[in-house]
Each structure stands twice: as structure tokens, then as C-alpha cells.
Subunit: 273 residues, 2 copies
């Protein structure tokens, strides 16, 4: 793809820019299989072979175009590339576009959750997120899942969308690369674990033995609930419980941090240490 293939747009009302309109409000209601990617690092990742998603279109400030042309030209099917000034981009998006880099991602057909779990008896470490409605926490958990090499992330029906703009950013792009799928309910998550021979692990201060010393299973589903209520008791009852040892009197850890500590231990073997 050469520079002259980009399509210049000067009218914020141009229908080709409609998917980029009022980004903040529409973030909240979902986008029918489309999502917004913002910023250079994230867009580079979406255009790389590591990405699980294709770009439906790209919208760049003219001065940002040269930095992307090689990458776009290398794609098997380059998407339309629109060029608009940052002022026009801001008018469309509804807030200032300092970075001048936007793209529309296509969610595609969601994978079947079971298809993301490595078949037994191979080792497997899968995160299971239950009722996590905070985009920072979900983004942080995707980042940690990628950092330590988890196989997949499974979400229950109440967990928020990892492809929400803020979650992608906090994930350092891992939401675009880490395999994930949604299940119908927390119970469906447990059922999947049973059918795929995954030991269900839950972190709780009440468990015996620190995770650093526990014998850890080679196949596990690590269940994480929201910080206040934690996992529902009926779910907790069906899990093997492990503890992240903490100081007396302050058993409060951010859920993404708790996930990082669990993953660091569970995936040690795989890193060969």
C-alpha cells in the first residue's frame, strides 16, 4: 500500500466516519461486533500477526500516516485507510484526538470457550473471570495473562468487555492477542473446567498454605471474582482453595495483582525454572 491509497476526508459528517462517532457514549452500549482501537502501540499490535482481530478501517491524522504505510501494505487484505485532521477526528469522536490514531476492530465470530483450552493431558492454565465489571481490572488481568503465558481467559456473562477501549489500553494490547471467550454463567465456567479436566482454583485468605509452597495442578482454571464480594460462596465451595500469604490485618489485594501472583507461580514450570 502506498501513501496515495489513503482516502482524505474533511467532513466530520462523512458516513465513512460514522463508526468513529461519539466514541465515549457508544463504548458503553457496545458496537455490534466492532470495537475502537486508539493509539499507535495498540494499532500496531492489531495489524501484527499476533492479533486475533482484523481492522475494518483505519483513521489517521495525515502526519501519522507515513508511520503505518509499510505495516498496512504488508496486510493480505488492507482495510480502507482514512485520513483526517486531528480537528476533524476530534469532531467525529467527540473528544480531542491528541494522538491522531484510531481504528475500527472487527470482533468476528466468538470462539467456543472449550476450543481455547489445551486438550488433556497437556498442561493448561486458564483464567476464569467472574462478575468483574471494572475495565481496569479486566485489562490488567489480560496484561498479566499475556505476561506469564496463560493459555486463555474465560469470562462469565457479567464480566465486562475486554475490547472496551480502556480495557484494551490497560491490557497493553493483550486483549487483542490473548485468546478469550464468554460463557453463559459462572456455572457454565465450572462445567467447562470439569469436562476439560481443569482443577478449579480459588484464591482466598482463609485457605491453608501459601501458593508459593502449594503443590499446584498441571491443569487449572484460576477463578477470580470482584474485589468487594469476591467469588460467590457456591462457586468457592466447588474450588480448591489456595492462599496468597499476606501481612496480618491487611488482606486486601487488587484482583489483577492477585491474578498476577497466581499466574507467576502456576506458569513457573512452563518457563522452565
Amino acid at each position: 500500500m502506498r501513501f496515495e491509497n489513503a482516502i482524505s476526508i474533511e467532513d466530520p459528517a462523512d458516513p465513512r466516519l460514522a463508526p468513529y462517532a461519539s466514541i465515549r457514549e457508544r463504548d458503553l452500549v457496545g458496537r455490534q461486533g466492532r470495537f475502537i482501537v486508539e493509539g499507535e502501540v495498540t494499532l500496531r499490535l492489531m495489524l501484527s500477526p499476533a492479533s486475533r482481530f482484523r481492522a475494518g478501517s483505519i483513521l489517521l491524522a495525515p502526519e501519522r500516516l507515513p508511520g503505518f504505510t509499510d505495516l498496512i501494505a504488508a496486510l493480505p487484505e488492507p482495510p480502507p485507510v482514512y485520513c483526517a485532521s486531528k480537528a476533524v477526528m476530534g469532531a467525529v469522536a467527540g473528544f480531542p484526538m491528541h494522538r491522531g490514531v484510531l481504528a475500527l476492530g472487527l470482533s468476528g465470530e466468538p470462539p467456543a470457550p472449550g476450543s481455547l483450552i489445551p486438550p488433556a493431558p497437556a498442561p493448561a492454565v486458564v483464567l476464569g473471570l467472574v462478575g468483574l465489571t471494572n475495565h481496569d481490572n479486566v485489562g490488567g488481568l489480560f496484561r498479566n495473562a499475556a505476561a506469564f503465558g496463560a493459555d486463555a481467559v474465560l469470562l462469565d456473562d457479567a464480566t465486562c468487555d475486554p475490547l472496551y477501549r480502556k480495557a484494551i489500553r490497560v491490557s497493553a494490547g493483550a486483549a487483542l492477542t490473548m485468546p478469550f471467550a464468554r460463557t453463559a454463567s459462572p456455572q457454565a465456567l465450572l462445567g467447562l473446567a470439569a469436562r476439560h479436566d481443569l482443577v478449579r482454583l480459588a484464591m482466598t485468605p482463609g485457605a491453608e498454605g501459601d501458593i508459593a509452597d502449594a503443590a499446584l495442578p498441571s491443569r487449572s482454571l484460576v477463578l477470580l471474582g470482584s474485589e468487594g464480594p469476591g467469588l460467590p460462596p457456591q462457586l468457592m465451595a466447588e474450588c480448591k482453595k489456595i492462599r496468597i500469604g499476606m501481612a496480618a490485618g491487611f488482606d486486601s489485594l487488587n484482583v489483577a495483582t492477585a491474578g498476577a501472583i497466581a499466574l507467576h507461580h502456576l506458569l513457573r514450570r512452563r518457563r522452565g525454572v
Copy 2:
């Protein structure tokens, strides 16, 4: 203290409310030894024996007062308690005060950094923050320092204020309880470590051996730098390097998360596991 000791205020311009004026703007420039605490959980913590700071005054919506009267009455020197409607509180603070709970904290005289380090040969784990300008990260590190029982947090001159409103909130109140002090420079941090027999530890992907397997010193200063640039090379050169083992191709961890993993390992011994 009885309910009738609270002072009702109806005028947003009342000079006794001046310290609560335009909270957001003034957050950015500091408050001459004073800081703002917001919300019930944080205020309860500041009024508890665990707090390192006293309240200069308390400002509550009338309906929130009964929940605090016992706690305030138990203080050796109860501060003035002002009562104002949420509308008046919002007019003073400059944004809606949904929770109706504010207080003014007094920073007091800062402790000498060396006074916070347990004397040798006792075990010691101290965090050293270098150039961390993100309040979420600093708040998160305080939370993790408290969760795992670190002895203190030392900040260089460029690290942001842990008593900034958002940092306190993200720390889950740990900024009010965890001993901390500021040094004049990163070099001063290193000098302190040398004088107090602390091994300087730095996390870097290039080090040999995972922290989970490394022989860890009983006295350490764990240095953490900002996520992009990390620790300056001249600082790194003076540290013992350890690695948090990660998956190939994604050596990116949030700095507060990296700190949590380091602290979890360094403080295992002290937890008796």
C-alpha cells in the same frame, strides 16, 4: 463527642470550609502540609490508631454524621466536625460530593528516611520508588506494601505524592498507614541503602534466575522505576538484578504488579512459610 458538637454550616463561602475549596485544582499544587481524604473507608482509617496522620477537620453531610460520632468521640483530641448538605459540600469542593464524607489530613513533620528502616541485623524489606509520576501506580504500590508487610516506602524527589486524593483511594488507605519518607534524589536512596546495610534489588528481564528461585537477602531495598524507561542505567548498575520470569515476547508488567510479586517473595520468610 456527641452529635450536638458538630458545627452546621450553610454558606459555601464560610472560611472554615476554605481548606476544602476547589479540591481538584488544588490537588495538583499541594496544600502546605494538608491533604484531602474522601469517603467513609478512608476516613475511618485516618481516625483509627493505625493512621500516621491526624485529621485537622472533618466535613460531613448531616446524614453521615451518626456513623462517625463514636469514632470521633474516642479520639484524644477530636478535630472540629463541620456538617453541610451535599449541595453545599459540592459547591465548596467544585464537584458533586455523592458520598458526603471529606476530611482534612495534616501531613505533620516528615520523618527522616533512615528512621523508617529497621536497624541491622533485623530483617528489612523497604520499597524505593524512583521517578514514579502515576498516582495509580504509587497508590497500588502502597497497597501492596501494606498487603505483604513491607517496613517502609522511600520515594525519590520525582515520585508523586502518596497523599494525593487518588493515590490514597487506590492504596485502599495504605498511604495513611504505611511509613514513608522522601529522599533528595535517587542517589540519596542508594546512599541510604548502603548506610543501612540494605541490598539494593532491581527487577529486570535481563537478569539471570527467577525471583521465585533466587536466594534473597534478609535486608533489601527494592527499587522500582517507571514503566517505560524503568530505572536509570546508572542506578541499575549499582543494584543486584533479579528477574520476574515471563512468557517469551511479552516482558511487560505493570510496576505495581511487579512490586507485588517481589514483595510476596521477599516477605515469605517473615510470614513464616
